[in-house]
Structure formats: structure tokens, C-alpha cells
């Protein structure tokens, strides 16, 4: 196609978009809504993952050692445990460190400080905090630690108490992920079909015009290009509008989410601002692609005159 015809086709596309403004706006509104649904799902997923991670990081097993255990024995145990595949990290806190942090924590409380002084020796125990890769692994870890091999030095394993919480959390995690993937893909398919059908209906109302253009001697490309431009315009505007809505929505709800999770890190808004350009590009790119493909497929049908 020659440059002149190409620029004319683009002009027609823009002109038709404007002259059909109510139909265009209707199509646009539907596209914005569907895109919004998809983005919302994606963000809920991100948020859910983040929350779960947050919880998971808070879950751990603490092993307290008998005061008779030697530091060498404990270090050896730590080395062994670290080599297990389930283990993400271990942190050793010696008796002295435990005492220091205890004092630091309660330095405002004269009663506690006084009673601590009364004691002749350090009442706190050395401990090892163990974090696993996945919450469901804690049961195995706890069982291994409970074996006779370690009984001589371990005083207490602080896991039984958390066990039900950990179990429940890992269950919830799995369910949320499964439901998210299923509903996400169904909704995504629905959204794409709705956009496709809307654009197809828009073009369906103009099928006679396509026939006329052919009778006047227009080539298929010359007929199709304005419709594809229109489709791309729907995509462009829908993508930008949707991005705007998301931006303000995320900015508005982020602080509420922080409060809910009692955490300063949880960063949906951070995530959003850091990846601003990327999200915009994906949103708009996906929307334009959807618009162009829908127009292309829909016009092809009526071009077979």
C-alpha cells in the first residue's frame, strides 16, 4: 500500500471514531471495564502473594537449648540442620545475646531489671531460629529435631504451639493460589471475548459499508486499515484510562492495606510506582493488541464479498 493511501486510511479511522462517537464510547467503556477487571485480578494476586509471604516469613521454629549444652555442640547441630534441603535460614542466638536483647527490650521497666540483677546467672537459654522454604515443611523439620539424636542438648522445640496456625496457613495459601489461577483465567477469557464481541458488533453494524467500499473498487487493505486503526484507538484509550483509574485506586487503598497487615514493607504502591512504565506499557500494549486483533478478525468476515 502506498504512503498516501496509508495516511488516508489512518485519517478515515480517526474520522470514523469521532463520527461514531456514541458507539465508540460504548465500546470504549466496555473495554475499560474488562481491562480493569483483569488488572484488578492481577493486583489481587500480587497482594495475596505478598501477604502470604509476609506471614510465611513470620513463621519459624525456635529451638531452645538446655543450659548445660556446650556452644560447640549447638554449632554442630546448626551446621547439620542448615544442610537439610528444607531449610531456608537459621539464626543462632547465644545466651549472652538473648540477655542483651532482653535487657534492651525491658530497660524502661525497673522491676524486671531489678529482678534480673537478683539472679546470679543468666536465666535465658540459647536458641536457634529455623526458617523453612515452605510452611508445610515445618512438620518434617520438627519431627527430625525431636529424634533421640538431639534430645541431649535440646530443651524445648517451640513449634507445637504454632502447628495449627502453620497448617492452616499452608492450606489457605494453596487454596488461594488454586482459586486465583482458575477464576483468573476464566475471567480473563470472558473479558477477551466481551471485547472481541463488542468490536465485532460495532463492525457488524457497518458490514454494508464494507460491501459498498468493495463495489467502488477499494482493496481489502484499504477497507480494513481504518477499522484496525479504530480498534487500536479503542485499545490505546482504554489502556490509558484504565491505568489512570488503577493508579489512583492503588494510591488510595495502599495505606489501608499497610495498616491491615501491620507492616511497612508490603508494597503494592511501591510495586506499582517502581514498575510504572512497565505496567503502562503492558496494559496499553495488551489493549491495543486486543483491539487490533478483534477488528482484524471481524472485518475479515465481511470482506469476503
Amino acid at each position: 500500500m502506498k504512503v498516501r493511501s496509508f495516511s488516508r486510511a489512518i485519517k478515515f479511522g480517526l474520522l470514523d471514531f469521532g463520527r461514531n462517537i456514541w458507539l465508540s464510547l460504548g465500546t470504549l467503556a466496555i473495554m475499560v471495564l474488562t481491562l480493569f477487571t483483569i488488572s484488578l485480578l492481577v493486583f489481587l494476586n500480587i497482594l495475596g502473594n505478598e501477604a502470604i509471604q509476609e506471614f510465611q516469613e513470620k513463621v519459624s521454629i525456635s529451638v531452645y537449648f538446655k543450659s548445660t549444652s556446650k556452644e560447640g555442640q549447638i554449632k554442630k547441630l546448626e551446621k547439620e540442620v542448615s544442610s537439610w534441603t528444607q531449610i531456608k535460614e537459621t539464626t543462632y542466638i547465644s545466651k549472652e545475646e538473648a540477655l542483651l536483647s532482653f535487657q534492651e527490650k525491658h530497660k524502661e521497666d525497673p522491676l524486671i531489671m531489678a529482678s534480673l540483677k537478683e539472679l546470679e546467672e543468666n536465666p535465658l537459654k540459647a536458641s536457634l531460629t529455623i526458617v523453612a522454604h515452605f510452611p508445610e515443611q515445618y512438620v518434617q523439620i520438627a519431627e527430625r529435631l525431636e529424634s533421640k539424636h538431639y534430645q541431649s542438648i535440646i530443651d524445648e522445640i517451640n513449634f507445637r504451639d504454632n502447628r495449627s496456625i502453620i497448617d492452616r496457613l499452608s492450606n489457605i495459601t494453596r487454596t488461594i493460589k488454586r482459586i486465583g489461577v482458575i477464576t483468573g483465567s476464566i475471567l480473563c477469557a470472558v473479558a477477551i471475548l466481551v471485547v472481541f464481541n463488542t468490536i465485532r458488533l460495532t463492525i457488524y453494524t457497518q458490514r454494508k459499508e464494507i460491501g459498498i467500499m468493495k463495489l467502488v473498487g477499494a482493496t481489502n487493505q484499504f477497507i480494513q486499515l481504518p477499522y484496525i486503526i479504530e480498534g487500536a484507538l479503542y485499545g490505546l484509550f482504554a489502556g490509558v484510562i484504565n491505568f489512570g483509574i488503577l493508579y489512583y485506586l492503588v494510591r488510595y487503598i495502599s495505606p489501608k492495606i499497610y495498616t491491615f497487615f501491620e507492616s511497612q514493607v508490603s508494597g503494592l504502591f511501591n510495586y506499582f510506582t517502581v514498575n510504572l512504565a512497565l505496567i503502562l506499557a503492558i496494559e496499553v500494549g495488551f489493549a491495543i493488541f486486543l483491539g487490533i486483533m478483534s477488528s482484524f478478525i471481524a472485518t475479515r468476515k465481511y470482506l469476503k464479498v
Binding site: S5, Q206, M213, V216, G217
Partner: protein
Amino acid sequence: MIKLTNISKIYPKNIVALDNVSLHIKPQEFVCLAGQSGAGKSTLIRLLTAEERPTQGKIKVLGWDVDLIKPRHIPLFRRKIGIVFQDFKLLPRKTVWENVAYALMVSDTPDKEIERMVPKVLEMVGLSRKQQQFPNELSAGEQQRVSIARALAHEPKLLLADEPTGNLDLIRALEITDILKRINKILGTTIILATHNKDVVNRLRKRVITLDNGVVIRDQEKGRYVI
């Protein structure tokens, strides 16, 4: 200019629209294709515009073998002819000016040429003052005149009109007839006018080819409508 040799068109379920029709039409001729509804006039026009293909026979139009034309050559062929329809077939979302210009844009005509031709043909059909209106703002007669202007814009050697007066009252119909007659006389365009309107045929006093049940039953110079 146009040569039909033993043309037959049979639709599914054995409906015979045209039966062994042979015709020869010379350049600058004005031919009326007369006959009742269902006689095969529209089928004949559609075969000439490559909208349909004959079941049998050869069609030669302006040097193109239309019965054998490849789909990708159809747009090129249609740019050489002008077509006027009973239902006008204007583009509703384009102005009068754009509708006419569209016929030129499809062949990548330069802007200068478009700006020269469009006012010229619109003046010829008497619509110079309605260039910026949309088709639905015009009367039926005016719409048909736009459609004629569009068909003329690229200066075709051949103009095919399928019942152009079918949706118009007698006065408008005769107006259109006069415009076509003038085009034939001034521009020398070959015109084939399919119609079942007796008054239109009789006013023209041109060659009349009468079809009945897909067969040519009469072909007269300066003929009248007789059925």
C-alpha cells in the same frame, strides 16, 4: 466494449437466471436493459461488475475477461467502471464530498486531482451546494445523484446502472434519466441502464434490449418498452 458470448447463470436449486445470452455493446452506446422483475437484468449487471460469475459463457468488458478474473484483480477492474445502484449504496458516515472522493482515493489518486474532479462531477449532477452534507440529510433523488457523481468521478468509459430510478417517483426518475442521457452525450460514457420503468425507457429513445425469463426476446435501436 462489452461482449457476452452464450452466457448462462444458474443458481442453486436449478433456478435459471440467464439462459444462453449473447450481446455486443459498442463504445458510447446508451443501452436500456428492460424487463419485468426477475427477468435477469440485475443478474446480468452483477455479472458485468464481477459480483458474480457466470455458470457458462464468456464475458469481455473493456478488454477484461470478467468470467475468469482473479479476486485480487477485481478492485482494479471496478476502478475502470462506474456503478449506480437502486439503493444508492452511499457510505452513511461520509459526507457527499467524501463519498465521491472515496471512489478516487481507492485508486490512490493525488489530492490535487481529487480536488479538481469532485466539484466537477458534483456540478454535473447539480449538487454543488450540498457537498458537506451527509447522505441521510438528502432526499432520495439527491442521494441517487451523489451515487451517479461517485460513479463518474474516476471518468470511467462504462457506467452500469441497476434500477437507479427504482426508489424514486416519476419526476425524480426522469431527472435521473436526463442526467444519464447528458453524461452519455457530453462525456461519451457508455451506459447500460437496467430498468422496468416504461416511462424511463420511452423517454430515452435509445437501444432497448428486453429480457424475459433469462432470455433476450427483443433488441431494437430507438426502441420502446414493450412487454
